[in-house]
């Protein structure tokens, strides 16, 4: 199975049908979830991803997740939603509650990668965050949708109030760090690198032990 970022962005990832717990996740988290699954031998977990680009259309996330839950719930003992609130304004949590499904805690992935408590403590309102996936898919998620490829002069209208770009790395890859730094330069922002690892994501998935499945 190939796992290319372009497909994760536009199409997502289909479940394998193996395992008792389905993780219904954002495509932007596929690499991290699969890495954790491999590292911990979590064979009871299966992964289905919705297209990561929904990140740019949060109003579509809740109905798409609901649809996927309804479609897959007969095939698994448990479904766990690996989306944070992600700009749904509590609607995703409400839908999960209604459908009797649990989801990961936090306002967005930047928060749970850093650890929700630590992230809230920082209260950085002028920081723009990128994860490993978003560093690689920066043009698809940021540069092109904002029209900066065609009109770079709009940059300060979008980012003029930000002060820094924070790269939260899940892996240790110097090439990605260099790329993230170049994105900060393109946006005219200071650069900060934080090695967050998987943060609360790992803890949340660890709690879905086989005995709970």
């Amino acid at each position: 199975m190939t796992l290319d970022d372009q497909s994760l962005t536009q199409s997502g990832l289909a479940a394998t049908g193996k395992g008792s717990v389905l993780l219904l996740a954002c495509g932007a988290l596929a690499h991290e979830i699969l890495a954790l699954k491999r590292a911990n031998n979590w064979t009871h977990l299966d992964l289905q991803c919705l297209p990561a680009i929904l990140h740019n259309h949060p109003e579509q996330i809740t109905p798409r997740v609901e649809q996927a839950i309804e479609k897959h719930r007969k095939d698994y003992e448990t479904i766990f939603v690996v989306y944070a609130d992600c700009g749904t304004g509590g609607h995703l949590q409400a839908a999960c509650d209604r459908l009797g499904v649990r989801m990961i805690e936090g306002p967005h992935c930047y928060s749970f990668f850093e650890g929700n408590a630590a992230f809230a403590e920082r209260n950085e309102i002028t920081a723009f965050y990128l994860t490993d996936f978003l560093v690689k898919q920066f043009d698809a998620f940021v540069w092109r949708p904002l029209g900066l490829d065609r009109h770079p002069e709009l940059r300060n209208m979008y980012f003029g109030n930000y002060t820094k770009l924070v790269y939260q790395s899940q892996t240790d890859d110097p090439a990605l760090t260099d790329l993230a730094r170049s994105h900060a330069d393109r946006l005219g922002l200071a650069f900060e690198h934080r090695r967050t690892g998987y943060g609360d994501l790992e803890k949340a998935l660890a709690r879905l032990g086989p005995s709970l499945g």
Binding site: P58, T88, P107, I125, T126, L146, G147, L154, M157, Y162
Partner: protein
């Protein structure tokens, strides 16, 4: 060599020039808009007419096409930037010549939120519609709103938020107005990408405004109603 199809703005009659300015605004051509504004002023147009007939008229088309999914944010920002260029020429002239004032608005992005694109569009379109706008900028705590309301005495309080994590702060501001017994002194309009009408009602705002054009129309309606109430009180 000059392009045979090049349009010389100064050679167009007023009607064609305004139509061309609509196109130039749509295409976000700031220099052309500035040139068009200067030509109309030189021809003796009242600054208020240039503002409403050429700039606001053109921007209304942009707003409608944004609403209908024909234009997207980058194009709207380019158009707004072009309009801003024209407004910069007109503003001092409007002050000199006087222009009808529809009402006054204090507007700001709420605490914890630094996003101001939508707010800036609303401010510009409100000014274009004849409102005096006091823009508090970004990241405003309740105290900042209260001070501005007291100092400026506006008809309208506008609040904006882009984040689902910051939009609940609007309720903090409205609840403070209630606690102080001044809620009904102001028309409270709220807006921002994650908001909706239901949210606006739930927090006690007078209206949720989907975009800048709706904000202007809603503001006009509420101010007219307020004035009418004043006349019959």
């Amino acid at each position: 060599m000059a392009d045979d199809d090049e349009i010389i703005l100064s050679e167009l009659d007023d009607e064609d020039l305004v139509a061309q300015m609509f196109d130039d605004l749509y295409d976000g051509l700031k220099e052309e808009i500035e040139e068009g504004v200067n030509i109309l002023i030189e021809r003796g147009w009242a600054p208020y007419d240039v503002l409403t007939k050429a700039l606001v008229g053109g921007m209304t088309i942009v707003g409608n096409d944004f609403r209908d999914g024909i234009l997207f944010v980058p194009e709207v920002l380019l158009a707004a930037n072009a309009m801003k260029g024209g407004m910069a020429i007109l503003k001092p002239l409007l002050i000199e010549t006087g222009a009808p004032r529809v009402g006054k608005m204090v507007i700001g992005t709420v605490k914890g939120d630094i996003h101001d694109i939508g707010k800036n569009l609303v401010s510009m379109m409100m000014e274009g519609a004849g409102f005096e706008v006091v823009d508090l900028g970004i990241n405003n705590a309740v105290e900042s709103y209260m001070e501005a309301l007291e100092a400026e005495g506006p008809d309208i309080l506008g609040m904006s938020a882009l984040l689902t994590t910051t939009m609940p702060y609007m309720k903090v501001v409205i609840d403070t107005l209630k606690e102080k017994g001044i809620r009904d002194d102001y028309i409270v309009l709220v807006g921002g990408a994650p908001l909706n009408e239901e949210f606006g009602k739930a927090i006690g705002a007078d209206a949720y405004c989907r975009d800048a054009a709706v904000a202007v129309e809603t503001a006009k309606t509420f101010v007219a109603r307020k004035h009418n109430q004043g006349a019959t009180a």
